[in-house]
């Protein structure tokens, strides 16, 4: 339980902005700007933040779908930051991804059986015959019927498609699953089915999750620890109960206070932030949140706060707690 399955060290992702005929780089979109985190075996780490905070980019770098600009990603003790080709493929069978949109993440021309057997032969793990044998049990495990193997994605509802995506991710018996907004496109009644399924599978298959979502309640439900991102930075990370009950960072406080709860007469004090998230192509100097922070001080405008432990295993990047 105490082994670090994943370590992300000072990872950055800059997308260059090019202009002119020679595509000269004129600036950078700082999608992820120095994020460090660890994931223990068997743990679920939730990553929350609003659109453009870099949470998906972070997930895709962990999956090695995107290359990092700087920093290191260590999976199971092995530095995978620069692995390529066969070596990458071999280790990638141990970490898989579930996507947001169950409509565009499944190939419409492939049958369910083809979708689920593809990971086996892409990774050269099993023959097609062996792989086909595994389809049935996987489908029943995620709540579909064995006979569904011959059907095509368009014949399924959104929730069922997400189950197919989960079956595909589980096929190679991975250790880590990165779920990027896996339930965001689903209706609430279906959302709860998928969340429950993911939590059962975690126990059954000894999985660890990185669960990326903008939905604070969903993240709280599924995670052990939660990290909050803002404009490419991790601003707060720690145990979920602590974070939800007693957030430190002014952004986390505002975020939690503005999430509507399905309850009446809970008079919680709303912190309504002014303005919008600045552009990651031109982030503010100092603390990325200082332009909207209700507790902004002079120092915030100049020096960027670093993530600092305020309690055991609980870190915040804010000058109020430095």
């Amino acid at each position: 339980m105490s082994v670090n399955l994943l370590e992300v060290q000072n990872v950055k992702k800059y997308f260059p902005i090019t202009a002119g005929l020679m595509l000269k780089t004129v600036g950078n979109v700082k999608a992820v700007d120095e994020v460090t985190l660890t994931l223990k075996e068997g743990e679920t780490l939730g990553i929350v933040g609003e659109s453009g905070c870099g949470k998906s980019t972070l997930g895709r770098m962990i999956m090695r779908v995107l290359d990092t600009t700087e920093g290191k990603i260590i999976f199971n003790g092995q530095d995978i930051t620069n692995l390529e080709g066969k070596k990458l493929r071999r280790i990638r069978s141990q970490f898989q991804m579930i996507f947001q949109d169950p409509y565009s993440s499944l190939n419409p021309k492939m049958s369910v059986e083809q979708i689920i057997t593809e990971p086996f032969y892409v990774n050269g793990i099993a023959s097609l015959k062996e792989a086909k044998k595994k389809v049935g049990p996987l489908l029943t495990r995620v709540g579909l019927k064995e006979s569904d193997r011959t059907r095509f994605p368009h014949e399924f509802s959104g929730g069922q498609r997400q189950r197919i995506g989960i079956a595909r991710a589980l096929a190679l018996n991975p250790k880590l699953i990165v779920a990027d907004e896996a339930v965001s496109a689903l209706d609430v009644s279906v959302q709860s089915q998928i969340l429950n399924l993911m939590m059962e599978l975690k126990e059954e298959f000894d999985l660890s999750y990185i669960f990326i979502s903008h939905n604070l309640a969903v993240v709280k439900h599924i995670s052990d620890r939660v990290g909050v991102m803002y404009l490419g930075n991790l601003v707060e990370i720690g145990d979920k109960d602590e974070l939800y009950q007693n957030p430190f960072h002014p952004y986390t406080k505002a975020l939690l206070s503005s999430a509507p709860e399905p309850k009446r007469n809970v008079k919680k004090e709303k912190i309504i932030l002014q303005g919008e998230v600045p552009s990651p192509a031109n982030p503010p100097t100092g603390c990325p949140f200082h332009t909207r922070c209700p507790k902004v001080m002079d120092v915030c405008k100049e020096i960027r706060p670093v993530l600092k432990e305020v309690n055991p295993h609980y870190s915040v990047a804010c000058h109020l707690y430095q």
Partner: protein, 321 residues
């Protein structure tokens, strides 16, 4: 109590698809009083958006058709008006905002042109006056640099700003009724909080009634005076917002509330409603939720329950309550 501003009676909007009749909205009753915020909640396919499009008479034709019912707006049946009369009302006395502000704004017109278009259509004012009014409205909805923004195009604005522009446009003629279809679904929570505040401000300022369509029960709890829960083209529960959340009566509403994770309390396992919504071209004879209901009795499968008063002002479509 005063007269309702909008009163929908037994509205039925059907679509035909591959020769089958799809009963998207199947006998809805709904009252909206002046200054009231009514939320229509339901999952995809429950008919909530089609209800609102029916009021605006924006149902895609010829596939869709309002086959029965009345939509009374200040006593006049909108369904009996001709196209000319309805477009005098649309955007003027009743206006609408949509979920995706990018697709509902015209990409080739400036913001100023789009807002003033509404005013020029419905008010006899000059273009210059209309633009002045547009700036005023933008300032009112909290758009910074309103003077410059009227010269910009939708793609230059962020999602939150676009939604404010939509609201400014919808409110330009100070409509008596604003219909908002998932107005905050595409927005981030901090921006959503801003937009919800703004909608309350609109109601207070202009005494407009708002019909808000949403799938998010959190938003409902935040803003609604009255709540209508829809399932499979029908109203299953209708009551004031406090009763819906604190004295939930219909098994579907109860199940919905139990399946949402909460920030404030910890639920170990979420309730999950088994199965899926029935096909709108092939509804069962009995209660439409029966197939997924925990409390189902054999009588539920045989007879469709009526929407009836259980407590004052609290309507439920379930015979077991």
């Amino acid at each position: 109590m005063s007269e309702p501003l909008l009163s929908i009676r037994n509205l039925k909007t059907y679509f035909s698809r591959k020769g089958k009749e799809v009963r998207a909205v199947d006998g809805i009753d709904l009252d909206v009083f002046p200054g009231q915020i009514v939320c229509i909640v339901g999952e995809s396919g429950s008919g909530k958006s089609i209800t609102s499009l029916s009021v605006m008479q924006l149902i895609p034709k010829p596939a869709g058709k309002i086959v029965d019912g009345e939509i009374l707006f200040e006593g006049t049946d909108l369904l009996k008006l001709n196209e000319r009369q309805i477009s005098d009302i649309r955007g003027n006395e009743i206006s609408m905002i949509f979920q995706e502000p990018m697709t509902s704004l015209n990409p080739v017109l400036t913001i100023g042109d789009q807002i003033s278009e509404v005013l020029l259509r419905h008010r006899s004012i000059t273009k210059r006056k209309a633009l002045e009014r547009a700036v005023e409205m933008l300032q009112f909805v909290g758009v910074p640099r309103a003077n410059e923004i009227i010269k910009e195009y939708p793609h230059q604005l962020s999602g939150g700003l676009r939604q404010r522009v939509m609201i400014a446009m919808a409110m330009a003629c100070e409509p008596k009724l604003l219909i908002a279809d998932e107005p905050t679904t595409a927005l981030d929570v901090t921006i959503q909080a801003q937009v919800l505040e703004l909608m309350k401000k609109m109601r207070d300022q202009f005494n407009s009634s708002i019909v808000m369509i949403t799938h998010d029960l959190g938003v409902v709890a935040e803003i609604a005076d009255h709540v209508v829960v829809m399932y499979a083209g029908q109203v299953v529960e209708s009551a004031d917002a406090d009763s819906i959340f604190e004295d939930t009566l219909h098994p579907y509403t109860q199940a919905l509330l139990a399946s949402i994770p909460s920030i404030e309390e910890t639920k170990d396992v979420l309730y999950s409603i088994p199965g899926t919504v029935p096909d709108a071209s092939d509804f069962p004879i009995g209660c439409r939720f029966a197939g997924r209901c925990e409390k189902v009795q054999s009588s539920c499968l045989e007879k469709m329950p009526e929407l009836r008063v259980v407590k004052p002002g609290h309507f439920v479509r379930c015979d077991l309550v």
